[in-house]
């Protein structure tokens, strides 16, 4: 069983790369389509000083798309896994904090964001669960970044 598992690892890492990359691209592209909304979504968490809100809200969507493209190319997989994990930890912390403070905001994870409409309930639990699952995928890539179909293995020859 052992050797077979080891043989499977590069394929599992490839799947992890492609899945995580696709999520980043989808999330980033949706936000990049309306940067003003992305800035408002960051502001709605009421965690950061106003001076850093616009640059962060504007940069984040593009960084997410770049992360996704690099992951799919497999260029610097271990670093990308670490950066992905770091971002996800920050997102989970932000969501948990908003939940704890009783803020009624939408996460803005895939664009939009800001406060939810009156009467609608924000889905903090589901969003935290999703980000935590992605965090496991990111951690796997840090632990075992070797994968098929990647620039990393191409240049390592």
């Amino acid at each position: 069983v052992r050797p077979r598992l080891i043989a499977m690892q590069p394929w599992a890492a490839t799947a992890a790369r492609l899945a995580l990359g696709a999520v980043w691209i989808a999330a980033g592209a949706a936000k990049a389509a309306d940067l003003a909304a992305s800035v408002r979504a960051v502001r709605a968490y009421r965690l950061l000083p106003e001076s850093v809100v616009p640059p962060l809200g504007a940069a984040l969507p593009f960084v997410e798309v770049a992360l996704g493209l690099l992951l799919i190319a497999g260029l610097g997989t271990r670093l990308l896994g670490a950066v992905s994990g770091l971002l996800l930890v920050v997102f989970v912390a932000g969501l948990a904090s908003a939940w704890a403070r009783g803020l009624r905001i939408e996460c803005g994870c895939f664009g939009g964001g800001g406060d939810v409409a009156r009467g609608a309930a924000p889905g903090y639990g589901g969003e935290i669960a999703r980000d935590s699952a992605l965090l496991v995928v990111a951690a796997f890539l840090v632990w075992a970044p070797r994968s098929r179909w990647s620039v990393d293995t191409l240049v390592a020859r």
């Binding site: 106003e50 504007a58 940069a59 939810v116």
Partner: protein, 240 residues
């Protein structure tokens, strides 16, 4: 460490290979990091190019860069209404409490500052929130903002649809008395879209995230029922 010369050579070669691989991995990681930083810089640049300078925003008649003011000059109580023309709860608020507000305005007690924000642009396929807000500024120029606001809520399109076209927005204006070609031109050219963006941004900075948000003398009335609104206005009018 001892061994035959061939083994020593093989070990040295393996060490060299490992060092090379580490260096390659480091360079690749550096390249990835540079790409990520570049993406962040691009994002900030695009945002600045899109928002431009607030000095260039054209303000409609009777308006400011954050909203449109309705009321008599001597009014003592200011009511702020943050609304989105696509938001069903804003429609419910307008239809329930609009007449009450109008009475206070007519009596000269209240001036209402309407802030038509575009929070719900992703909820239509045509950025209806922005287009309707900009059209309402055109109606302010034509002197029919309050009637146009009511008309937009009577004909409110459902969320997720293509909503009303610019032609329909112009026809609604004509119904309430905005018959000039300038109104039509104002709507089709999107003259006040930058103003809508400024209004939306100002609302977000003021801590308003959801619509409707109603403030009486700066204090939120939540939930904004007609009774709570009336009570808050009466308290504020007494100077309380």
């Amino acid at each position: 460490v001892t061994g035959k010369p061939r083994e020593i050579a093989a070990r040295r070669l393996a060490r060299q290979r490992a060092a090379e691989r580490r260096r390659t991995a480091l360079i690749v990681a550096a390249v990835a990091l540079v790409v990520l930083v570049a993406a962040a810089v691009v994002g900030v640049g695009v945002y600045h190019a899109q928002t431009g300078s607030p000095a260039r925003v054209i303000v409609p008649r009777g308006g400011t860069s954050t909203g449109i003011v309705v009321g008599k000059p001597g009014a003592t109580v200011t009511v702020d209404v943050y609304l989105d023309f696509l938001c069903p709860h804003c429609r419910a608020f307008e239809q329930a409490s609009g007449p009450t507000l109008d009475r206070f305005v007519a009596a000269g007690t209240v001036r209402v500052v309407y802030h038509p924000v575009a929070f719900l642009d992703p909820s239509s396929t045509t950025r209806y929130s922005t287009r309707a807000s900009a059209a309402s500024a055109c109606a302010a120029d034509a002197g029919v903002f309050p009637a146009y606001l009511r008309a937009l809520y009577v004909d409110q399109p459902p969320e997720g649809s293509a909503a009303l076209s610019d032609t329909q927005l112009i026809a609604l204006g004509r119904q309430v008395g905005a018959t000039s070609p300038d109104f039509a031109q104002c709507v089709t050219s999107g003259r006040y879209r930058a103003w809508t963006a400024a209004v939306t941004d100002a609302a977000s900075r003021a801590g308003v995230g959801g619509t409707p948000t109603v403030l009486v003398a700066g204090k939120p009335v939540d939930p904004p029922t007609t009774d709570a609104l009336t009570a808050a206005i009466q308290t504020a009018a007494r100077g309380g």
